[in-house]
């Protein structure tokens, strides 16, 4: 469905369905990698990011994660089940 290439602090992502290229910065590649393995709720996703990538668990990170998910949903890279 997509190709991801790490360039430096930014990664390029090619969205096959849309034919569009995005440049993304952390934690977006980490979010997509986590959701590629299995669907997750926000709470599950935070748990994965805390365990695998050292995300700090607080209200600010939850809000930031929700904002990133909303953006990714808007461009069709994640979707609700």
């Amino acid at each position: 469905m997509r190709l991801v290439t790490q360039l430096d602090t930014l990664s390029a992502i090619y969205h096959r369905r849309a034919g569009v290229t995005h440049l993304i910065v952390e934690p977006v590649p980490e979010i997509l990698a986590a959701l590629t393995k299995a669907p997750a709720t926000i709470a599950q996703l935070i748990a994965i990011l805390v365990a695998d990538y050292g995300l700090e668990q607080n209200a600010e990170s939850v809000a930031a994660l929700q904002a990133r998910l909303d953006e990714l949903e808007a461009i069709g890279l994640v979707w609700r089940l």
Binding site: L3, T5, L7, D8, T9, L10, A12, Y14, R16, G19, T21, L23
Partner: protein, 281 residues
């Protein structure tokens, strides 16, 4: 005529542009099996414009509806622009990057930048200093192999660079001087024998430079993400190639060193390029 892997057929309402093109392309081969990839036609803007204040409208497989006609005296330039247009709008086999490219020791240097950055002049100079010119307008990246294919059209020299190159190449390698174009005075330089004989020999890219003419000499590192963005902007068909374009471009960016260079004059630019090539390529 054929330029590297691409064959062109040119038609014209007048003889003069064809005579000018026959001079520029006298040593180029014919398209494979005589079948061109693109057709260009130079047409009178209206029928009476064949005779009265003749002006050339670009037609062919791919056109821009807003393109303004050029005076007949600039007919060769119109043909060259039309050939660029066919490539920019119609080329689907290679990833096209608006760049000059030259080869040395089996590897390619790509010079990309906006018009006026000096990439054509640098490529022309390098072509007369032991490098093989691949082209001054488009670098053709093969999505399958990652190699740069030659597209050695006559080099479009502008203004001061005309005299710079006139001191280095014999008169028979130059086309007629075209004065008063939108980019100033233009004179085409026919690539040398090494470039024409090697037009079917691709090579892998080894260094990407973003030159800028008219500034104090400077070299800056360019992060891969910036190279990626600048090359998507410099490509005319990145979007059209879809996933093949993405794969070709990410491979090029992640496997090739890149620098931005500023240079105040052509001599220092030439030295800067040669020093960076020795260090990085």
């Amino acid at each position: 005529m054929r330029v590297g892997p691409v064959g062109f057929r040119i038609g014209s309402d007048w003889c003069a542009p064809i005579a000018g093109l026959e001079r520029l392309y006298r040593d180029y081969p014919k398209p494979v099996d005589d079948i061109p990839h693109f057709t260009v036609r130079l047409e009178a803007a209206q029928w009476w414009r064949r005779f009265i204040r003749p002006s050339v409208r670009i037609a062919g497989d791919h056109t821009l509806p807003e393109a303004l006609p050029l005076p007949l005296a600039q007919g060769v330039l119109a043909a060259e622009m039309a050939m660029n247009l066919q490539m920019a709008l119609g080329q689907r086999h290679y990833l096209l990057i608006h760049a000059a490219s030259v080869e040395r020791d089996g590897r390619v240097l790509i010079l990309t930048g906006e018009s006026g950055s000096g990439k054509s002049t640098l490529a022309a100079l390098l072509g007369e200093h032991g490098w093989r010119l691949l082209g001054d307008e488009f670098a053709l990246i093969d999505p399958q192999t990652g190699e740069a294919h030659p597209f050695p059209r006559p080099i479009s020299l502008k203004n001061a660079s005309i005299d710079v190159m006139a001191a280095l190449a014999p008169p028979q390698r130059f086309g007629e001087r075209i004065n008063g174009t939108p980019k100033g005075d233009i004179r085409h330089l026919i690539p040398n024998t090494a470039a024409l004989d090697g037009m079917d020999t691709p090579a892998p890219p080894a260094l990407i430079l973003f030159p800028r003419f008219g500034h104090a000499a400077d070299v800056r590192e360019v992060m891969p993400s910036e190279v990626f963005i600048r090359l998507t902007q410099a490509s005319t068909n990145y979007v059209a190639l879809a996933e093949r374009g993405y794969t070709a471009l990410t491979r090029l960016v992640t496997q090739t060193a890149a620098r931005a260079i500023d240079y105040p004059d052509t001599a220092s630019g030439l030295k800067l390029v040669q020093d960076l090539w020795a260090e990085l390529a």
